[in-house]
Amino acid sequence: MSRVLLAWVVPGLVAAAAFVGGDAASDRARSVRPEDPNVGVSYLPTSEALKLVSMGYENVVADALWLRTVTYYGAWAKGDHGLDFFRELTHRVVDLDPWFVEGYKFGAFVLADDLDRMDEAHALLAKGSERMPNNWEFPFNRGLLEYTVRLDDREAARWFREAADTPTAPEMAHRFAAFVSSRAGDLEKAYALWRFVAETTPNPDMRAKAEEYMEELAAAIEGTGPVPEWATRRRVINGRVQKDGDV
C-alpha cells in the first residue's frame, strides 16, 4: 500500500498541484501585464520571412494567421483592443495564400467599413486583381465598397462595369453595373446590394452585417423606420456632392 502511495499517489498529487499552481501563476502574470491596445499581436514577421520558414506549407501558416485575424477582429468588436494590426495580418494572409479570395474581401470590407481606410481597402483588392486579373470579384467588391461605404455612385458604377467586363463575370455583375448607373431609388439599390452580399458571402460576420443593414433599409423603405444614419451621409452622385435626402 505504502509502495503504491509513493509510486503513484504522491507524484500524482504533486503533478496536479504543479499544474494548478502554474495556471494560477499564469493568470496572475496576465493580470499584471501592462495594458496593450493591440493585445494578441506583438510581433508579426514579414510575408517573405513567413514564406521562408513555412517550407512549402504556406497555406497552413496562412490558415493559422486567418484564424488569428478573425479572432483579432472579434475581440475588437467586443471592445477588447484596437485594430492597428488588422491590415498587416490581412496582407500576411493573402501573401501566403494569394488565391484566398475571401481573405481579400473580408479584409477590404473591415478596412473600409470599420476602420474608414478606403484607400487601403482598395489597395488590398487591387493586389487580388493583380494576382487574379480574370476574377470578377475584386472589381465587384471595389464597386460594392464605393456604393455602400463611400457612397459614390459614379465610382461604384465604374467598378461594377469593370467587374462585368471580366471574362468570368456572372450575369449579376452586369445587372449591378446597369442598376447603379440607373436612377432607381437609392434605398432600394442599397437593399439589393446588401441582399446580394448576404446571399453570397460564406463569411458569417459579413452576412450578419449585411442582414443588419437590410433590416434597417427595409424599415426605411416601408416607412416603418428612419433612414439609417449611414445612408444619410453626404455622398457623391454623378460627380456632384449632395445630401442623400436630395435624391
Binding site: 490558415d63 488565391w99 460576420d205
Partner: protein
C-alpha cells in the same frame, strides 16, 4: 524474393516500433482542427480542412521517413545482425533495396490510412471531396519516395543522427529551391550565383511535388506536370539508391 523478405521484415519492425501511433496523432489533429477550428474559420472551412489534411499527410509522412529511415541500417549494424544477413547469399544492393521497399510499404500504408481519415474529416464537415486532393496526395507520395531514397543514401554511411540531420537539410533546401533560384538571379556576386546554380542541379526540386495550393483552390493540374514529376522522382531515386549501394559496398563491418 530476398528483397521482399527484407522489405517485409522492415515493415514489421516499423509496426513493432508503434510507428502507426502517428496515424492516430494525425487523426486527432485533423478531427480537432475540423471540430474546433472550422467554426472560427469564417468562410474558409473547406480550405482549412483541405489545407490541414493535405499538409498533415505530408508532414507526418516526412516524420516517419526521418525517424524510421535514419536508424534503418544503423540498428542492424549496432545489433550486428547485418553480419549474419550479409554472410548469406544476399547482395548489398538487395539488402538496401529491401530496406528501401520496406520503408516505402510503411509510408504507403500510413498515407493510405491518413487519406481515409482525411476523407472522413471531409464527410464530417460536409466539405466537398475533390479528385485533385488524391492527385496531390499521390504527388506527396512521390516526394516521400524520393526523400526515402535520400535517407537510404545517408544511412548507408552515417549514423542515425547525422542521417536525420542531412535528410532534413536536403528536405528543407529542396523545398526552398525556388527561393535559391530567385537569389541566384538577383545576386551580383558571380561566385554565389554559380554556387547556387550548381546546388540547383544537385538538390532535389521538391517544389515539383507540391500541388496542394492548386488542389485546394480548384486550379487545373496539368497531366504533363504530374508525368514529369513522376519521371523526375524515379530517376533521382534510382540515382540515389545506386549511389547508396556504391558507398555501402565499400563499407566494412567488424
Amino acid at each position: 524474393m530476398k528483397i521482399l523478405a527484407i522489405a517485409r521484415n522492415t515493415f514489421r519492425e516499423a509496426v513493432r516500433d508503434r510507428i502507426f501511433a502517428l496515424v492516430g496523432a494525425f487523426g486527432v489533429v485533423l478531427m480537432a482542427s475540423t471540430i474546433v477550428l472550422s467554426p472560427l474559420s469564417v468562410g474558409a472551412q473547406q480550405k482549412l480542412v483541405a489545407d490541414i489534411g493535405l499538409a498533415g499527410i505530408s508532414i507526418f509522412a516526412v516524420l516517419v521517413v526521418l525517424f524510421v529511415g535514419s536508424g534503418l541500417v544503423h540498428k542492424e549494424v549496432d545489433k550486428r545482425t547485418i553480419m549474419t544477413l550479409l554472410s548469406k547469399p544476399v547482395s548489398r544492393m538487395e539488402y538496401l533495396l529491401g530496406k528501401y521497399l520496406g520503408l516505402l510499404i510503411t509510408i504507403v500504408a500510413m498515407m493510405a490510412m491518413m487519406t481515409v481519415l482525411f476523407a472522413l474529416a471531409l464527410v464530417v464537415t460536409g466539405t466537398q471531396f475533390e479528385w485533385a486532393y488524391l492527385l496531390s496526395i499521390g504527388l506527396t507520395l512521390c516526394e516521400m519516395i524520393l526523400i526515402t531514397a535520400v535517407v537510404i543514401f545517408f544511412s548507408s554511411f552515417t549514423g542515425p543522427l547525422l542521417t536525420a540531420l542531412f535528410t532534413m537539410g536536403i528536405f528543407i533546401s529542396g523545398r526552398m529551391l525556388s527561393d535559391l533560384l530567385d537569389f541566384a538571379h538577383v545576386t551580383e556576386n558571380p561566385v554565389m550565383a554559380n554556387t547556387v546554380n550548381v546546388l540547383r542541379n544537385v538538390l532535389p526540386n521538391l517544389d515539383l511535388f507540391d500541388v496542394r495550393t492548386a488542389a485546394v483552390h480548384g486550379f487545373p493540374i496539368e497531366a504533363g506536370h504530374v508525368l514529369w514529376a513522376v519521371v523526375y522522382m524515379a530517376l533521382y531515386s534510382i540515382g540515389l539508391v545506386i549511389a547508396a549501394e556504391f558507398v555501402f559496398r565499400r563499407r566494412e563491418f567488424k
